[in-house]
Point group: C2
C-alpha cells in the first residue's frame, strides 16, 4: 500500500474521495432513520437531554448541537413536547430562557430508538473484516475533530 506521507496532490484526491464518501452516506443515514418513530434531529435532541437530566438544556444550545437555527430547534421541541417526550420549564436564573427536559416517556423512547439504531448499525458493521473496522475506528476521531472545528 501507500505508506509514504501524502503529497499535496494527494490532498485534493483525498478531498474528492471524502466528499464522495460523505455524499453516498445518505444511504446509511436513511437506513438508520428508517425507524419512522423519531427523526434524526429529534433523537439527537433527546440524547442531549439524556446527558442533562437534572437541569435540562436550553433551546439555543439544542439548536447549536443540531446545527440549525433557533426557530428550527423550537419547531422540533414543540413536536417532541406534543408527543409527550419532553417538557419546557422556565429557567430559574434567566427568565428569557427555557429549559427543555426529558419526561419519563421520553427517556424510554430515546433508549429504545438508540438501541435499535445501534443494532442496525452493528448489523452493517458486522459484515466488515476486523481490519476494516479498525481502519474505520481510527478515522472516527479525525472526523470528529473536523466536525468540531466547523461547529459554530
Amino acid at each position: 500500500m501507500n505508506d509514504q506521507p501524502l503529497p499535496d496532490a494527494g490532498l485534493l484526491a483525498l478531498s474528492r474521495d471524502f466528499r464522495e464518501a460523505l455524499r453516498h452516506s445518505i444511504y446509511l443515514v436513511r437506513r438508520l432513520d428508517a425507524d419512522g418513530e423519531l427523526s434524526a434531529a429529534q433523537l439527537s435532541t433527546l440524547k442531549m437531554l439524556l446527558d442533562a437530566v437534572d437541569d435540562g438544556v436550553r433551546v439555543g444550545e439544542i439548536a447549536r448541537n443540531l446545527g440549525v437555527k433557533v426557530p428550527s430547534a423550537t419547531e422540533q421541541i414543540i413536536k417532541l413536547e406534543r408527543a409527550g417526550l419532553v417538557r419546557r420549564e422556565a429557567d430559574p436564573d434567566d427568565s428569557r430562557a427555557v429549559r427543555v427536559k426529558l419526561t419519563g416517556e421520553g427517556h424510554a423512547a430515546v433508549e429504545s430508538a438508540n438501541t435499535r439504531r445501534n443494532a442496525v448499525m452493528a448489523g452493517i458493521l458486522g459484515s466488515l473484516s476486523d481490519r476494516e473496522r479498525q481502519a474505520l475506528a481510527a478515522a472516527l476521531p479525525v472526523i470528529g475533530r473536523i466536525n468540531e472545528s466547523l461547529q459554530p
Copy 2:
C-alpha cells in the same frame, strides 16, 4: 424478546461512535454546499452526466444514484433543465425512456462547482496532521464499501 445474541461490546461502541460522527458531519456537508449555486443533489447529477457525455443517463438511473425516488429526480432534472445545464432527449432504443445530457453550460458549471468544493474541503483537511489524513484515507474505502452494500 431477546431472541438473538447481543453484538460484541466493541462493535456496539463502534456503531455508536460512527453514528455520532455521521450525525455531526452535517456541519461539513453544509459547509460544502454553502455555494448556493447548486444543491448537493444537483451537483451529483451533473457529475454523473459528466461521465456519460455521449449517451446521457436515464432518469431512473439518476434517481438510484441520488438515493431518491424517480419523481424527486424528475423534479431536480427539470430545475437543471430550466437553468440550461442539462437537456432531455428521447431514448432512441426505448421511447418510454428519457436520456438526460449535459449542455456546454452544464459542463462548465459542474467543473467550477466541483473545483470550488474540493478546494473548500482541501482547506479543511489541510489543517490535519499527516497522520490524521492517513487515517482518514484508510477509512474511506471501508465507508465506500458500506455505502455500496446499502445502495438499492
